[in-house]
């Protein structure tokens, strides 16, 4: 575990880092980095749709669904989640930040940001989604941040292939897992670090990237600056932020956040059931899911034609279709898939709804992917409240035009 704290970063400086995170967290929903503000490519962020804060410190905040009418989720509207908040900016400044590559490698590396920039650059547009997104909808309630719909976003991530970096270090025959450690630290030293690992196959996948830019702008501190792992198609518990240490090893990472948290039953379980550790596997790939971005919950609509729009995505496959129901799920009509189609990104969809009549109505949507996964009415309960992908629903009021 000594490799968790890079040389030159003392415990106290790391604690000071946590204080920096605290200060940042207290600024609430305004998350724009100066670099991002200066980038004209993103357009003007919708300032009337701030993130919805679930936990003020360390900051956990979700994106309002109406932001998902945009293909790319703006950086300052992208959900924020971490266990301890970001490290202090001076701890991850280019002059002091280093990426260590160690463990079962032939040539351990210590890379600067400049060193990283010598590898081939790659951009992947990918959904990043918290494993607990939708936890609030599980019954019985699962402990944890009560995320509803918006702990997900679609962004373009630019960086270098993790594979290229690992190949420069040279993997030994014992390489099975890659342990990931960021520079974030808990308030108290007695709290376990957020240490994660991914299987070496995912680490060597050509689309798995070490990202330094998000939607064309430098990665904001809240989103993992200067370096964040992006594991396209997988839940965000693998997308470790503020990365400082990669350790190639034979075993999965030990510790709470790999061995206890972020695990999902490998067999069907009864709600509330206590599950033996050997029946729990790490949360990895995302499941098929769609969300309604417009109209908004509670909207009052004039009877007639209403454009329903949203997004749909799945883990490692592609979206085949999205269906909409406006009669409580009795009948479904196919929505039109629109816009860009890219692996790992979400697909936008539209559905022209002829409301007829008036009164309180519910719009439902469900997606199907090319591997036959269909969004269920409700997702199976599991102790961590992970992988919610039940039909999305929005209630509206239709009035005579």
């Amino acid at each position: 575990m000594t490799n968790h704290e890079g040389p030159g970063i003392t415990r106290r400086r790391l604690l000071a880092g946590a204080a920096g995170g605290l200060a940042l967290a207290l600024t609430g929903g305004r998350l724009r980095s100066p670099a991002e503000a200066a980038d004209p490519g993103l357009g003007t962020p919708p300032t009337d749709q701030p993130l919805r804060t679930h936990v003020a410190r360390p900051l956990d905040a979700e994106t309002p669904p109406q932001v998902f009418t945009q293909y790319l989720t703006p950086n300052d509207r992208f959900f924020v989640r971490s266990h301890f908040g970001p490290p202090a900016p001076d701890l991850v400044a280019p002059s002091v930040w280093r990426l260590s590559v160690a463990g079962s490698v032939e040539r351990p590396l210590r890379l600067t940001l400049n060193d990283l920039s010598t590898f081939d650059e790659i951009t992947v547009t990918a959904v990043v989604q918290c494993s607990g997104n939708g936890r609030a909808f599980h019954r019985p309630k699962a402990p944890g941040v009560q995320w509803e719909k918006g702990a997900a976003g679609n962004a373009s991530w630019t960086g270098v292939r993790l594979r290229d970096v690992l190949q420069r270090a040279g993997l030994t025959a014992r390489a099975r897992h890659l342990q990931l450690q960021g520079a974030d630290r808990p308030v108290a030293a007695s709290v376990p670090l957020f240490t994660r690992s991914i299987p070496i196959e995912k680490a060597l996948h050509p689309d798995t990237i070490l990202a330094t830019r998000m939607n064309g702008a430098p990665l904001p501190l809240l989103h993992g600056a200067p370096l964040r792992l992006i594991t396209p198609g997988w839940m965000a518990d693998s997308c470790v932020k503020w990365l400082t240490n990669l350790t190639v090893q034979e075993e999965e990472a030990g510790g709470y956040y790999m061995q206890t948290a972020y695990r999902y039953p490998s067999r069907p379980v009864k709600p509330g059931e206590v599950i033996a550790p050997q029946d729990l596997k790490p949360v990895e790939a995302m499941v098929v899911k769609s969300l309604i971005a417009a109209p908004q919950q509670g909207a009052i609509l004039a009877s007639g034609a209403v454009m329903v729009q949203g997004v749909a995505w799945t883990g490692e496959g592609r979206i085949e279709k999205v269906e909409v129901s406006t009669d409580e799920g009795r009948t479904w009509e196919q929505a039109r898939l629109v816009g860009d189609e890219a692996p790992y990104a979400w697909r936008q969809w539209r559905f022209l709804w002829r409301t007829g009549g008036s009164g309180r109505r519910t719009i439902l949507c469900r997606a199907t992917d090319d591997r036959g996964q269909v969004q269920p009415m409700a997702s199976p309960w599991n102790p961590g409240g992970f992988l919610w992908n039940g039909w999305d629903h929005v209630q509206v009021q239709v009035r005579e035009a």
Partner: protein, 205 residues
């Protein structure tokens, strides 16, 4: 499941009486602090060191999950003794149970100002501190953020901090909080703050 929890929730309301009765009698400050208020003070002083309490208030968990959660937090360093942990668990299971609904109304939160007024009215300007007591109080309440021997951490270094030269300002800062530091007036009495102050003044580099 719903039915079982419903029944459970029914008798949960009796838990504070069952569980806290003995605790309440055994605690020195019991006569001035109802259990609910003590629990809310613990939330502010023990839990909020690491995370804001909104994280707690959005949970709706049965008692066994609250027990497991409080146990986990104690294991991770939350400064709660056994009685405090039991009191806090009972409070959480009473108000934040699965049937509680989206909005939980808590009993009136303890008012720090009122506390301070009550405690300080008519008292002598500032009590003299006992460093020996202060060392233990520091470890229990301050160390997580201010580090071993006041060396600093998330919170500023306190050893040789200029504020130590101003006893009144020290006391006000501790009791009312400052910036990211939560107010401790509901937890620490003026005498205890003075004890911590006295101990910090004994520190060498």
């Amino acid at each position: 499941m719903r039915t079982r929890w419903g029944q459970r929730a029914g008798w949960l309301f009796l838990l504070p009486v069952i569980l806290l009765g003995p605790t309440w009698l055994a605690t020195g400050r019991a006569e001035e602090q109802p259990a609910d208020q003590q629990a809310q003070r613990l939330l502010a002083s023990r839990c909020a060191v690491c995370h804001s309490t909104d994280l707690i208030q959005q949970q709706r968990l049965p008692r066994d999950r609250w027990e497991a959660t409080v146990d986990k937090m104690v294991h991770w360093g939350a400064q709660l003794d056994k009685e405090e942990a039991a009191l806090l668990t009972a409070f959480l299971a009473t108000y934040f149970h699965p049937e509680a609904g989206p909005v939980v109304t808590l009993p009136a939160a303890p008012s720090i100002q009122a506390d301070q007024a009550g405690r300080e009215s008519g008292t002598a300007p500032a009590p003299g501190g006992a460093a020996a007591r202060g060392a233990a109080l520091y470890k229990q309440n301050c160390l997580a953020c201010h580090g071993e021997a006041g060396s600093g951490g998330v919170g500023p270094k306190l050893a040789h901090n200029p504020i130590l030269a101003q006893a009144d300002r020290f006391r006000t800062t501790v009791s009312q909080g400052r910036g990211a530091m939560p107010p401790w007036g509901a937890v620490l009495r003026p005498q205890e703050i003075a004890d911590i102050h006295a101990w910090l003044n004994t520190l060498r580099d």
